[in-house]
Symmetry: D2
Subunit: 311 residues, 4 copies
């Protein structure tokens, strides 16, 4: 492992991708995100010893969107434990990220915590017993703690933009509410959901926040246990099977690491026992995952041999 020069690798990747013309398509369904410059690219790796290896726009904050679902899942499991699984499944969906079809067939229980419906159900767990503002504060502080960075904030313009236009998510939430899977006021739960999706982080901050998943559940800076080692493995497993919507199989096939994407163009990926990684490129592929982000991670696992599926 010592022989891997991560600084050279990330520099090479950033340089290589700068010249690509096939950059995917910036998400346009959240108006506030539609204007992002598609030519940006960032990558940051925190290795096991805590060294940061970054290149490109690694310090530019972007909207983490669905990547926040990893952190809300972690929080919700801490609060209600395995009772969470009464409200959300653990299987890949075989459908696009915002599909409602499966909910009808399976009585309002979403297939996994990483599709929109599942993440709304998880958020609902965090809202129970709290004012929305409190629930949101708890999520934000948890992410700030994970990243060792109190400057991380929510981009309110993005949250408001999604709130005004998020009709499909509103449909999903009401649909689950009709089956009792969402328990709180739909507006409360969706308000918290839209806001935690609108958290803005850089690749560096995101990679920092993901360290506990590479360290068997421990927060390396404080050595506190964020989750048990078993739970960390299980969250990684869920990211591997469900973290890229209906492109999860493809990501596992090409990259070979647990990961979670967001429509802001970010991806967090975990090399267990080795590193926490974040990449960002705003253009998306047809499944709604960062096009160049996935290619960057594919280059990275080729160079490092970090695939969990063998050397």
């Amino acid at each position: 492992m010592a022989a891997i020069n991560l600084d050279a690798i990330v520099t090479h990747i950033a340089h290589d991708l700068a010249n690509r013309s096939d950059r995917g398509k910036v998400a346009d369904y959240i108006p506030e995100l539609a204007g992002i410059n598609p030519n940006q690219f960032g990558i940051a790796i925190i290795d096991y010893d805590g060294n940061v290896h970054a290149a490109g726009d690694a310090d530019v904050p972007f909207s983490i969107q669905s990547i926040s679902k990893v952190f809300t899942l972690t929080l919700a499991l801490g609060i209600v434990g395995d009772r969470l699984w009464r409200r959300v499944g653990r299987e890949p969906s075989g459908n696009p990220f915002n599909s409602i079809v499966q909910l009808e067939r399976e009585r309002g229980v979403p297939r996994n915590p990483f599709i929109n419906a599942g993440a709304i159900a998880v958020t609902d767990v965090l809202v129970t017993g709290h004012q929305p503002r409190e629930a949101l504060g708890q999520i934000l502080r948890f992410i700030q703690f994970l990243a060792d960075d109190p400057t991380i904030t929510i981009d309110k313009a993005v949250a408001e933009s999604e709130k005004r236009t998020g009709f499909r998510n509103t449909a999903l939430a009401n649909y689950m509410k009709s089956f009792g899977v969402v328990e709180n006021d739909v507006d409360f739960t969706l308000g918290v959901y839209f806001h935690h999706c609108a958290i803005a982080m850089s690749c560096r901050q995101l990679a920092m926040a993901g360290r506990y998943l590479a360290h068997s559940g421990r927060h390396p800076a404080t050595d506190l246990s964020v989750v048990s080692a078993e739970r960390a493995r299980r969250i990684n497993a869920l990211m591997l099977t469900c973290g890229h919507y209906d492109g999860s199989g493809e990501f596992a096939y090409r990259v070979g690491l647990p990961g979670k994407s967001g429509v802001g163009g970010g991806i967090i990926a975990i090399a267990p026992g080795k590193a926490s990684i974040a990449v960002w490129a705003p253009g998306l592929d047809r499944s709604g995952n960062s096009h160049l982000g996935r290619i960057a991670l594919e280059m990275l696992t080729r160079s490092t041999g970090w695939s969990i599926f063998g050397t």
Copy 2:
């Protein structure tokens, strides 16, 4: 790693499971399989150095059924390379193993090579340019080679039983034929499919046959390259995301290893760089995967720390 006593672990697992009363339900849709004694259990591990650690009914042959799909996929990739992916996808299906719904939505292209439809499409590739008997001989000899064991045979009674009753598979094959995804005579392709599913192997033989996937694609006995290291990783990734039908997420979550199940009650699992593992218990869970087999593997990864998702 040296401290792990695999012999003790497999003995303990076999002993523990012998007393379980919740053994799942033996598959009854293939008449010839319906009469299997559900109280059997076997486990075999081939570690990286080639040592065998076995317990229970590890030398009793059983019908490998869908586990054969790992070997036919490997063969087909060797023959047509990535052109295979024009005919079959790489995503989890989100549906039961014999579902036909997705085929209609996606113009006859099955979601992955491990659901029935996908495996039939892969078999069709192996039939092209051959008589069915030749294609079947090639598959059998490949598995014998992988397992270093020329005694492995096909259980003709099982093959005939499935041929007589396999109406859903016949429906799937004809459906794909209507879209040109199956190219050969449906009876030829299905004949080969039913027969390779009817190959009988013991846990020991199966674990032997899986070694190349734990050894970066190399056959350890001969050091021949069965597939490239990259392809071995990718087959492992497909097993992780799609190897247990609509229970693949659950298997990844609980066991944390790439694996492939069959309705005969067998499961092959791969700990990359560490071991090839086979378990067998005839009773199935609701998703059609061996109930005790999965539990055995969960106990194994807990004891060994072999999960690919972290220690």
Copy 3:
């Protein structure tokens, strides 16, 4: 035809059904409707000459629910004409009344104006350019005019009850809004929708209101043209193919008249050129249609030979 004694027929039907024990199940998903006494039954026929033949609880008002969709469709066609069909289809859905699956497959365009999604889209047309209160007033006055009865009112308790609990309808409306099929504020459109479903009418009033569909589109009391004869035929055709949700085929098969049911237990049926008919019995069958109401109409068409499918 002159020999048909309608008074005797309706008396016989009411008497016969009074003794039935299989009365279906009162809808419980709108709390305010769940407490209705299931032993009520009413029937009213307005023949072509305007004579009323009624029996049972023909003057007890009940919640017309989805029967209102016939009148809102008529109104909306009057306002936007065939442009309406850009937003809603004309085919049976093959799915339950509140299904959302088809909307995803067909980009938010509901299959017909009589399933919930379709009726919400039609209501949205009536809301455009108006305050909700105005739109609702227009619908109510239209029904009062059709029935020659200014005393017809909205049951506000039912409307409020559905508004508080109508999460699936809220999901449908938001889903269509995400595709632009609903144009107005979802709360406005749903408010009007819930209120027009909560209009309370007796069988007598409902049969009066339906006369124009039996009279080639003319209002017999005033001889005003409500719709053209062609449009009256077409509304009848839509009722025949789509008026009983996923039990429309069964209703056509058994009754043989265009009709529209509501979960309040009412059904309006049209014998073109002969009569307008309303029945009411609160218990529903599995498709959500009045169980005894359908049986009453089956008895009626047997006695009268009024089936549109032959004598």
Copy 4:
């Protein structure tokens, strides 16, 4: 009604349609049908008194295809009565004619006897207890009897062509067989199915064969009762709701008569108590129904006022 000049009407329709350039698309999935000249058009009406009014290519035989399903349904109801409905439903499908999706959801029971799956299940009833050749002979003789024409034959080239290429129908039949809905050897049932679909008839012959449905179930030439008056009405109702696949609603809306189409371009339509009608134009619309055939019938009901939905 006496004033309707049917000869003038059919002549006018044939003349008007001769000049149309939008003729739809000839079915190409049965190779033998793909070469039909799309410029043909025929119409024949048998009025209640037995007079024939014909125009265009009314005496050119064409492949009746799915129109045969009306006659096989009539025969099967005669043999097993309402027990038929254990194997096939009576609801519109909301899906294309050859869809298999619904079968999976509803355990192999097709939605109605006029989609392919349903008609195969009905054919299977006719095959039970017979050699395929006998069953087919019975169907053919029944149609010859209905049409008073012993010269009607099966186009063997069409039957063979469909047998060679009918993979989707083979899929449907095997799928139903897996649920026990098809009871006989799949090849037997499909052989009979493909052959009765390949019966060739002219508009004149087809209109003759349909008379019993306009005459309350009686065969006017012999005054024999083919089916009871109630059953005739019910078959008409099924044609209205399900006779044009996923275009049934549209046909009811525009034409307003019970009808059944075939992919050969024919349509039979029934004006109960008035006439039996057949039209033929080979080009199909998107739902698989004759494009000009439907327009011809729409012109006819406008001119005659024969809609069952009012004058």
